[in-house]
Symmetry: C2
Subunit: 208 residues, 2 copies
């Protein structure tokens, strides 16, 4: 499977295709036409055919798409056939919400540890079944445990401080919830979820 | 101020400009050149000049941008000079993380109430200072309280069920954290934060 030439816009649509195909599987649907998928996803049928043709074109005239094959193929492209070790930086409500969401583990994202500046404020050393360590142990932890992804849920300044330690510790990706951009080398990917910015976009759209 | 003709891409960049300008104000910086802003924001200076010219062109040759004026103007465009009444649907960890983030209230987003299917599971009727009601009271609440935005933090199926009630109750915007698309009339804006899809984009980027 060669993914060269696939635009960022298509990549951004893939998780949504994956979600809809997963729902179809849950409903016992094993094939679907581009027309029917277009109705459900609120995209044009030609957009769907164009997007999905990029991934081997599993659609057949008069048959439609094989839902399972397409679901598995998109899952592979998204890297969901691999498993990932995660650490969560911070142990507040957002950290707990993320680490308590079992859907992530089902997709191969396994949270192995949480780190907090002040773990004593939590009643014990385990939050939702995940071991909690002091942030000062992060460097040592990363030197002993191969870690693919770090989830940052701490405030902006602390997030910028911890980033170097994560990069030096060999983390490949950072899922960043802090209200800041992070400075990393090209070998590390940052995916940010800026909640404030999302809310501002909502208020913009309400007003225009 | 006429915003016609401002592209979606520019609108999506506005909250980030707003964030950087806010940081500059905090640092006591009252003017900045497009070159310096470009270095900080990792955008080209010509991109910045092009974007900001759309909003009245506060930059002056040899002087740069007036940070306060630009910050206020972008805030107005984003609708941050208004205040908004919010309700949060759900009272789990994510709902608590969102309602506990004081940055939103500072920007005019005031969470007035939370609703949960089973409020008895919480020890009292207030979560982080916000009154908690049973979801069955939502319709009556909305008929008595003008509510601008609803934040949905409940699972997909329940989210789809509650949407009609929110629309009928006159909500103008929905900030949707449920792992589903929502069906609303054109008069209502949905801004979704699909956390699973963000994580899948990260795993895609790690692998390519």
């Amino acid at each position: 499977m060669e993914n060269k030439g696939i635009s960022k816009a298509v990549i951004n649509r893939l998780p949504r295709y994956y979600r809809y195909l997963g729902m179809l599987l849950d409903q016992g649907v094993d094939r679907i036409s581009s027309g029917e998928l277009s109705r459900r996803m609120n995209l044009t049928a030609s957009q769907i055919r164009q997007d999905l043709n990029l991934f081997g074109g599993f659609g057949q005239q008069g048959y439609g798409y094989n839902v399972r094959k397409l679901y598995d193929e998109i899952g592979k492209i998204l890297g969901l056939d691999c498993s990932y070790s995660l650490v969560v930086i911070g142990a507040g409500k957002l950290a707990q919400a993320i680490s308590g969401y079992f859907g992530f583990e089902k997709r191969g994202f396994k949270i192995e540890a949480m780190f907090d500046r002040d773990p004593d404020k939590h009643k014990n050393d385990v939050v939702g079944g995940i071991p909690l360590y002091p942030l000062s142990d992060l460097k040592a932890y990363l030197s002993e445990h191969v870690t693919d992804i770090a989830v940052i849920t701490i405030p902006a300044e602390a997030a910028r401080e911890v980033t170097d330690c994560l990069v030096e510790g060999g983390v490949r990706g950072i899922w960043n919830f802090a209200h800041t951009d992070l400075d990393v080398p090209d070998s590390v990917t940052v995916q940010s979820v800026h909640l404030s910015e999302s809310l501002m976009q909502l208020s913009y759209k309400i007003n225009h």
